[in-house]
């Protein structure tokens, strides 16, 4: 099971801060990946928490949106932990895939590479692997299908309950 703690009703911000170090981007603590700055944490059960932290970084490098917080990338990849819990072969594919990514990235591993370009160069080497394809293929749905991210892109989603757009700007373009 993966739990995303997001302020209430999971861990409080104080508890998160206690568990993680202040200032770090993503902190691994026990079986959890924690973002102390943003008060959320994600507990893994099948995958190593380090693996999950790398998956989150990898997700951001595949679909980088600087205005989208890490939390949504974490939600987008948490399904891999659930899947790994049910399917040993799947778990091996993910763990091996991440290990390979780290190996190709040199001493500090994938997350140790400071620039996105450096990490993307490593991803390009594994682009054709089933590992990369399953991460990317899942992500294109699990990231963009979160209603919470839609407003960040200016997509308004469901509109029937609001009476459609007939009185809400379907033809409000002014600059033409």
């Amino acid at each position: 099971m993966v739990t995303i703690y997001d302020g209430k009703p999971g861990l409080s911000r104080r508890e998160l801060l206690k568990r993680g170090g202040i200032g770090a981007l993503l902190v691994i603590s026990g079986s959890a990946v924690i973002s102390p700055e943003n008060a959320w944490g994600l507990e893994t059960s099948a995958l190593k928490p380090e693996t999950m932290a790398t998956l989150i970084q990898m997700a951001r490098d595949i679909y980088p949106h600087d205005q989208v917080p890490d939390k949504y990338y974490a939600i987008a990849v948490k399904g891999h932990d659930e899947q790994a819990g049910k399917d040993a072969a799947y778990k091996t594919m993910i763990e091996d895939g991440i290990a390979d990514l780290d190996k190709k990235s040199g001493e500090g591993g994938y997350r140790g590479l400071g620039w996105e370009e450096q990490r993307v160069a490593v991803l390009q080497q594994i682009e054709a692997t089933p590992f990369f394809q399953s991460i990317r293929g899942g992500l294109v749905v699990s990231l963009y299908n979160q209603q919470e991210v839609w407003p960040i892109f200016g997509y308004e989603g469901e509109s029937y309950s609001k009476g459609g757009y007939i009185a809400r700007g379907f033809d409000d373009i002014e600059w033409l």
């Binding site: 892109f153 509109s159 029937y160 700007g169 379907f170 033809d171 373009i173």
Partner: protein, 523 residues
């Protein structure tokens, strides 16, 4: 009240599929007092049940049973098990469709005589002309409430249309308007007018857009002559020693096999399932499948030459507000070989929500080039290209050699290679559309590859001569008198226009023919 017929009743017309073709044929026959059973593989969801959410709606309505693909089309690489985006639900793809309803042009019924022989293409003239179709087009437009006909006003233009129109004016295109849409622009037929919700592809929750689900089907049921049996997947059509069809074997909602006896069978499962069913109905008498003495069943699969162009502007557009297909440019629909291809194409506005845009803008794409496009989603405008593609014998539906579905029926493989004419047309359209958006100040454009096929055509084609095709000018099998094809698979060629108005018109015409042949006791 909806009828309920006995399985052994062999006086009924059994229709397979309840979409544009099957739903219309069912109602038209019921109105004439003919008893009809429609077998529909999907479940029945009424329009209140529709979901304003792209993936949510897709799982509710789309046909997701496994299919395989082959050929050089990009869909085969990006969506190997989803060659087509069509529906498995009562109402068929008329739940998902956008509503664009255009008549074919005269020459599009006569492509072989007009274009001449095109290498690598299996062109043929239809055994029907525009003049013969006109009265049926008029009936279909009246039935469906097509805007811009019968004095119904066109829909108001949304933001996406206004961008299109501004570009069309700059390029000098003359025929640009908000289309001929089977969407109520005023309340009529006891249905709402369009509220510009922008989820036309997800099923119209207002019922403003025509769908057989809440027009033809309840009207047919009200006569007491129509029964729609949902969750009934037809597997095989049976015949007698004389070669007449006698009934349809189907898997019911519990997966149990049943046989509905029939006086006449009409196949309307859309252009992948219809040939699949005919091929799967092979027997000692018909070893290559039913109605297949010509060998044409499953061949000449067409999907229209399509593609999209999305463009980003420095100011907001909000293209997703309002009707999904909100306007059209028709100037390129003419046949003008000086452009480097035969046939023509239409531009129609199109919008996808963020989830589908991510999936379809550049399937497989990733990294900043891809994501910076989505970053400006609310500054995007978009259009869809729909043009005539070339029928080719090699583009075809076949039964998979090994893989079977839950009922033990071989799954369909869809093979498609682009003809050079398709590629030339698509490239021309990409160039024109990019220029159009540039003229309005686009800062970046995206020539977007074709989606899984929404228009599936041609796999049981109509022909004058029995050796050239599967059915005659009434959709009646050349080989078997009481077997009909009633969907887009009868199309001899595809034309530039969206197919549904023609499917509906053919179904109205076919209903007259079937009823008259039944009373004359020839079937």
């Amino acid at each position: 009240m909806a009828a309920s017929f006995d399985l052994k009743n062999d006086n009924v017309v059994v229709i397979i599929g309840s979409g544009a073709g099957g739903g219309t044929l069912g109602n038209e026959l019921a109105q004439k007092g003919v008893d009809v059973v429609i077998l529909e593989a999907g479940a029945r969801h009424e329009y209140e049940d529709f979901i304003n959410d792209e993936w949510g709606s897709f799982s509710q309505l789309a046909w997701t049973d496994k299919r395989t693909t082959s050929g050089d089309w990009r869909v085969s690489k990006d969506f190997p098990n989803l060659p087509a985006w069509i529906v498995k639900s009562v109402g068929g793809s008329t739940t998902h469709w956008a509503g664009a309803s255009l008549r074919f042009q005269e020459h599009e019924f006569k492509t072989l005589s007009t274009y001449g022989k095109v290498e690598g293409a299996n062109l043929l003239d239809w055994p029907v002309t525009l003049a013969e179709m006109e009265p049926y087009y008029a009936k279909a437009e009246a039935k469906m409430g097509v805007t811009g006909t019968n004095n119904w006003p066109r829909l108001p233009g949304n933001n996406n249309f206004k961008v299109l129109k501004a570009g069309a004016d700059k390029l000098g295109y003359k025929e640009c308007h908000t289309g001929n849409m089977a969407i109520n622009s005023v309340e009529r037929d006891d249905r709402n007018s369009c509220q510009q919700t922008g989820f036309c592809f997800q099923g119209c929750k207002w019922g403003a857009k025509w769908s057989t689900l809440y027009t033809e089907i309840p009207k047919g049921e009200a006569t007491g002559h129509l029964e729609v049996r949902p969750n009934a997947m037809a597997i095989k059509i049976n015949h007698d020693a004389a070669g007449k069809v006698t009934g349809v074997v189907y898997a019911d909602k519990d997966g149990k096999l049943q046989e509905q006896k029939a006086r006449v069978v009409a196949v309307a499962g859309n252009s992948i399932e219809s040939p699949r069913l005919l091929l799967n109905s092979e027997s000692a008498k018909f070893p290559h499948g039913l109605a297949n003495s010509s060998g044409q069943v499953g061949k000449n699969y067409m999907r229209h030459t399509t593609g999209s162009v999305y463009a980003i502007f420095d100011r907001p557009v909000h293209m997703y507000r309002g009707t999904t297909m909100a306007g059209i440019i028709r100037d390129e629909a003419r046949h003008d070989p000086s452009r480097g291809f035969v046939g023509g194409y239409e531009f129609e506005t199109l919008s996808l929500g963020l989830p589908f845009m991510a999936a379809f803008l550049n399937p497989g794409g990733w990294g900043r080039s891809f994501t910076t496009a989505l970053d400006h989603y609310d500054h995007m405008a978009g259009l869809w290209i729909v043009g005539e593609d070339m029928p080719r014998a090699e583009n075809r539906i076949t039964l998979h050699k090994d893989e079977k579905d839950a009922h033990g029926m071989p799954i369909a493989d869809v093979h498609f290679d682009d003809h050079p004419n398709d590629t030339a047309m698509r490239n021309h359209a990409y160039k024109q559309a990019t220029a159009l958006y540039d003229a309005v100040g686009a800062t970046r454009s995206f020539p977007t590859p074709p989606y899984p096929s929404t228009h599936n055509l041609g796999t049981n084609r109509m022909s004058e001569k029995a050796e050239d095709g599967v059915v005659n000018q009434h959709g009646q099998a050349h080989d078997i008198k009481n077997l009909f094809v009633s969907d887009g698979s009868q199309f001899t060629t595809g034309a530039a226009e969206n197919p549904t108005l023609t499917i509906v018109s053919l179904a109205i015409r076919q209903a007259e023919y079937i009823a008259s042949q039944m009373s004359a006791k020839t079937i």
